[in-house]
């Protein structure tokens, strides 16, 4: 363990009745990085971050946050962490500024509440009641509340869940700025695009375990090819073996009539594929190619898509 570790946890286990939510999870988060926990709903991400924040007690395993443990330094640790939890409903009849001021009052140090609102661009709503805020504004308020104590380590649990694309991008900008300012951020998400955009490193979590770890680029590179070709066709198509024989194809997966090929060189693979389909007399109903994403990594690792859970 180096002095640069913001979070270290080993063999973390948390059970609810007969469900194992976290099943021997290991993590190392470095100071100053933005670390993402990526996985479908129910993978154990929220349980993990709630344990790291001292809200839940693990059944087994060791947790160290900013060099301290929850058993010995709970209060001091809470002073140093900033938190945005999932689905927190702030008091409906407080104004935005009153809410931030309320939370600011719990900490010994921090920034003026107005400054936190400035960072999340919620200043013009400072006198509005929380009940009158949109979903995106509420999430930004949650972020302002998390930031007001100037935390050394910031936890964001699904910060953009349920938001429209514009609100999501607005929140991404805020997090990008925080990262640029050198703050350590740990975020959970089931949006692969979010993890790719914001995170220095990503741990892919499934069934309470880390199944892959690395920078988004490394994880995508682990697929062995950087592009994905998807197609569907009517009539007789090509067999698995025939598809693998197409130049540049490294992996084949068939899902509900749609064929997904992982390819290294789409400019070579696509013409060859089309030629063979025409030869066979199959009529193409769908064809798409894209750069491989973390979504494809998850699909590759688990055989399931992130959204399916």
């Amino acid at each position: 363990m180096t002095e640069h570790a913001a979070i270290t946890c080993r063999s973390l286990v948390k059970r609810y009745d007969d469900v194992v939510a976290v099943d021997g999870l290991d993590l190392d988060v470095r100071a100053g990085e933005c670390f993402g926990l990526l996985g479908p709903n129910g993978a154990g991400k929220t349980t993990t971050v709630e344990i790291l924040q001292g809200i839940l007690t693990p059944d087994a395993g060791r947790v160290e946050v900013l060099g301290c443990t929850w058993n010995t330094h709970a209060r001091a640790l809470r002073e140093r962490l900033g938190t945005q939890l999932q689905e927190t409903r702030f008091p409906e009849r407080l104004t935005v500024l009153e809410t931030v001021r309320l939370f600011r009052s719990f900490y010994r140090q921090g920034m003026p509440p107005g400054q936190a609102l400035q960072i999340v661009e919620l200043e013009e709503k400072r006198s509005a009641w929380v009940r009158n805020l949109s979903g995106g504004q509420r999430q930004r308020l949650a972020l302002a509340v998390a930031l007001v104590s100037e935390p050394e380590l910031l936890f964001l649990d699904e910060p953009t869940a349920g938001l429209d694309p514009q609100s999501r991008r607005q929140l991404w900008d805020v997090v990008t700025d925080l990262r640029a300012a050198g703050r350590t951020v740990m975020l959970t998400t089931h949006y692969m695009e979010e993890a790719e955009r914001l995170c220095d490193r990503v741990a892919v979590v499934d069934h309470g375990k880390v199944i892959a770890l690395g920078t988004p680029r490394e994880l995508i590179a682990s697929l062995g090819a950087e592009h994905v070709v998807e197609f569907a066709a009517d009539g007789e198509t090509l067999s698995d073996a025939e598809l693998r024989a197409v130049p540049g194809v490294t992996e084949v997966r068939v899902e509900q009539g749609t064929v997904r090929l992982t390819v290294s060189q789409p400019h070579a693979a696509v013409p060859a594929l089309l030629a063979r389909l025409t030869e066979r007399g199959a009529a193409l109903t769908q064809l798409a190619t894209h750069h491989a994403t973390l979504e494809d990594v998850f699909l590759h690792l688990t055989g399931r898509s992130l959204r399916d859970g």
């Binding site: 924040q53 001292g54 809200i55 839940l56 209060r75 809470r78 002073e79 962490l81 938190t83 939890l85 999932q86 689905e87 927190t88 409903r89 702030f90 008091p91 009849r93 407080l94 009153e98 001021r101 309320l102 939370f103 009052s105 719990f106 900490y107 010994r108 009641w129 509340v145």
Partner: protein
């Protein structure tokens, strides 16, 4: 740092106050509702002097002279009716008694009804007088219509007690469960907020409202019905404060684990409804069998109501209410300790 601690408590208290103040429904239930209730009951039970009792005289030979004799004193209102109608009115409580002409005259009534027994005495006196009886003993009536002994005087302290219980339990219980349900309690738990500040702020915000609601209620009683305030205001405030603490503790206790508003509502009704009935809000608890009196007197609302009546109506001193204060304090301490032990932040 002392100042940041103090400001946490202050901000939490302000939050609870704003929450209440900015909710028009809460203002209605806390201030307007008890007053409307007192007004309605006060008008319904307003003392209007002794009322003539309604009785029936069954039609038949001699009925008319009976009606005249019975109505003469002005204490009975006798109505001639046929036997079916008379019986129907007796059964439904619209007349207290039926006089059946004959020799002897028969009196039909339900001896378990106070009103009927009274009508029986008045009827007897009227008929005996008309038949020429002379009283051998003369009794002088010394009538009393003093403030402090009317029904409204009994009622106002009862409603005050009811209000202190209701707002204490609903205010704190609902407040906490709503915060837990919105996962805000979890978020607060993740901050370095002092747990004791949070609980204390609930009670402090309640106290601010308490001063207002008790003041409004007493002023209303004094102005609208001339309900007296005979004891010292300091002692009255002490009784109110200790009562409010007991119900804040109970509110905290019922909310310590409940996850939903429905859940906590059920628990609250379980705690409060029996006390509405037995603790002497609308009628004295002495109507219940002697055997359960010790149980009733140990309830916090009974102690609060009795304490309020003692101070307001009897002008009682510290010695007379010490027992009530002790009972309420015991409830407050026990409920707080248990609530803190059981309390769940998630």
């Amino acid at each position: 740092m002392a100042d940041s601690r103090g400001s946490g408590l202050l901000q939490l208290t302000l939050w609870r106050l704003r929450d209440l103040w900015r909710e028009p429904e809460a203002i209605f239930w806390v201030f307007a509702f008890p007053i409307l209730l007192a007004l309605a009951l006060g008008v319904a039970f307003k003392n209007r002097g002794p009322q003539a009792l309604s009785i029936a005289v069954q039609q038949g030979p001699g009925a008319d002279s009976l009606v005249d004799a019975l109505s003469a004193g002005g204490r009975l209102r006798a109505v001639p009716l046929d036997s079916v109608e008379a019986y129907e009115r007796l059964r439904s409580g619209r007349v207290a008694l039926i006089v059946i002409p004959g020799n002897p005259v028969a009196l039909q009534y339900d001896s378990t009804r106070d009103e009927s027994r009274l009508a029986r005495l008045e009827t007897d006196a009227a008929l005996q007088g008309a038949a020429g009886r002379h009283d051998v003993l003369w009794l002088r009536d010394a009538l009393l219509t003093e403030r402090g002994s009317r029904y409204i005087d009994f009622l106002i302290p009862g409603l005050l007690g009811l209000n202190i219980m209701g707002t204490g339990m609903w205010g704190i219980g609902f407040g906490i469960v709503r915060v837990r349900q919105g996962k805000l309690l979890r978020r607060l738990h993740a901050s370095p907020m002092r747990r004791s500040d949070f609980l204390l702020a609930q009670a402090l915000a309640r106290l601010v409202f308490l001063v207002l609601e008790v003041g409004v209620m007493l002023a209303f009683g004094a102005l609208a019905f001339e309900v007296p305030i005979r004891g010292s205001l300091v002692l009255l405030s002490t009784v109110v404060l200790v009562g409010a603490l007991a119900f804040s503790g109970l509110g905290l206790l019922v909310a310590s684990r409940a996850q939903t508003i429905e859940g906590v509502s059920g628990l609250m009704n379980f705690v409060m409804v029996p006390m509405w009935v037995v603790s002497g809000v609308f009628f004295s608890w002495s109507h219940f069998p002697d055997a359960i009196h010790p149980v009733i007197r140990a309830l916090p609302l009974t102690a609060l109501n009795d304490g309020l009546r003692a101070v307001l109506l009897d002008g009682a001193g510290v010695g007379a209410v010490a027992g009530f204060l002790g009972i309420m304090m015991a409830w407050a301490v026990a409920a707080f300790l248990l609530a803190v032990k059981l309390f769940r932040w998630t």
